[in-house]
């Protein structure tokens, strides 16, 4: 792979990201970058932009709270405290996990048990079980069969169908 100098020697324009800031128009290979008001001189922050910054006071303040360096290593030697999985700390995941687990418990245990208890209350005896009877009747001069379902706490339901014997 050729380096920048070799590229220059080959007479090819450098790709725009390798060109010195403020010298070239991206993509064209000619003209000063500053000539185009839409294209600024720099693209990235450089260390020189932050020479006046002094972070030591703030960092020092943070370090005051920590103590000696290498505390992490000491913690590892002692054995770090066991923490629950990180996803449980994320509220959405925690809420979803809670809902899924609660829902599963309710579905599997709660309704089944209640239904059994309810059944024991509603149908304590043989007499209260649902019954079906079939009778004969004449409807509009034709013989019909009437099936009636009777069960506790439910309105009586009847079906009938007209036979074809008399037709």
């Amino acid at each position: 792979m050729r380096n920048d100098r070799q590229e220059k020697q080959a007479g090819r324009p450098l790709p725009f990201w390798k060109r010195p800031a403020g010298k070239q128009i991206p993509g064209s290979g000619t003209g000063p970058l500053g000539a185009d008001p839409e294209v600024p001189e720099g693209m990235f922050y450089r260390a020189a932009d932050f020479e006046k910054e002094d972070l030591w006071p703030a960092v020092s303040e943070r370090l005051e709270r920590i103590g000696q360096p290498g505390n992490a290593a000491a913690n590892e030697e002692k054995g770090r405290p066991v923490r629950p999985p990180m996803f449980l700390f994320r509220p959405v995941y925690a809420a979803l996990t809670f809902l899924v687990i609660t829902g599963a418990v309710l579905l599997l245990i709660g309704p089944g048990r209640n239904a059994r208890e309810e059944a024991a209350i509603v149908r304590p005896t043989v007499q209260s079980r649902p019954q079906a009877t079939i009778d004969s009747a004449y409807i509009q001069g034709k013989q019909a069969r009437v099936m009636t379902f009777v069960q506790p706490n439910v309105p009586e339901i009847s079906f009938f169908w007209i036979g074809s014997q008399d037709n």
Binding site: W17, A47, F50, E53, R62, P69, A72, A73
Partner: protein
């Protein structure tokens, strides 16, 4: 003074020695985090946090490795983590009503050589792409070194850089000829 010597002094309990490391690396580290985050206040905070983490984990530092790369690695992960957390649902809810988008520079005293045009284009890149591009173009790192910093393979780094270049090229073209 060599970094390893300073680290040894720090580990022997001389906390003030760490000041030398902070003063040596604060500017490049700030530039790196500013390039990834595109928010100077956030970049300052991340840089301070990175130094703090480095101090805490100084005992785990592998002396065969470059301290600068190790520090960069901590900063990059902190930046990406910060970006990820900033994109979370609750953080977005928390930020409702505030001014949207990053706040690159606060005042004229903070010279902002990149705070327009292309700077905005860079926001079209993902944090990982910005990291790879920034380390490549600003620091002059090669794919292997970037891979060590970003904790990924050389191939992944090349993909990040290729995609970044393609995106930037396309966006520049749109901007130029629209």
């Amino acid at each position: 003074m060599e970094d390893t010597e300073v680290i040894s002094r720090c580990l022997s309990g001389e906390r003030e020695a760490f000041e030398l490391l902070v003063r040596k690396y604060q500017a490049p580290l700030l530039a790196l985090s500013a390039n990834i985050l595109r928010d100077l206040e956030e970049a300052r905070d991340v840089t301070q946090e990175s130094f703090t983490k480095a101090f805490v984990n100084l005992g785990n530092f592998d002396h065969d490795r470059s301290f600068k790369s190790w520090l960069y690695s901590i900063t990059v992960h902190e930046c990406i983590d910060r970006k990820r957390r900033a994109g979370s649902f609750f953080r977005k809810l928390d930020g409702l009503g505030r001014e949207a988008g990053p706040r690159p520079f606060a005042g004229p005293e903070e010279a902002a050589p990149t705070d327009h045009g292309l700077n905005r284009l860079l926001q079209a890149l993902s944090p990982r792409e910005r990291t790879a591009v920034s380390l490549s173009f600003v620091e002059g790192y090669n794919a292997r070194e970037i891979g060590q910093v970003m904790n990924c393979s050389e191939k992944t780094v090349r993909v990040h850089i290729f995609r970044s270049k393609s995106k930037l090229r396309r966006l520049l073209k749109e901007k130029r000829y629209a």
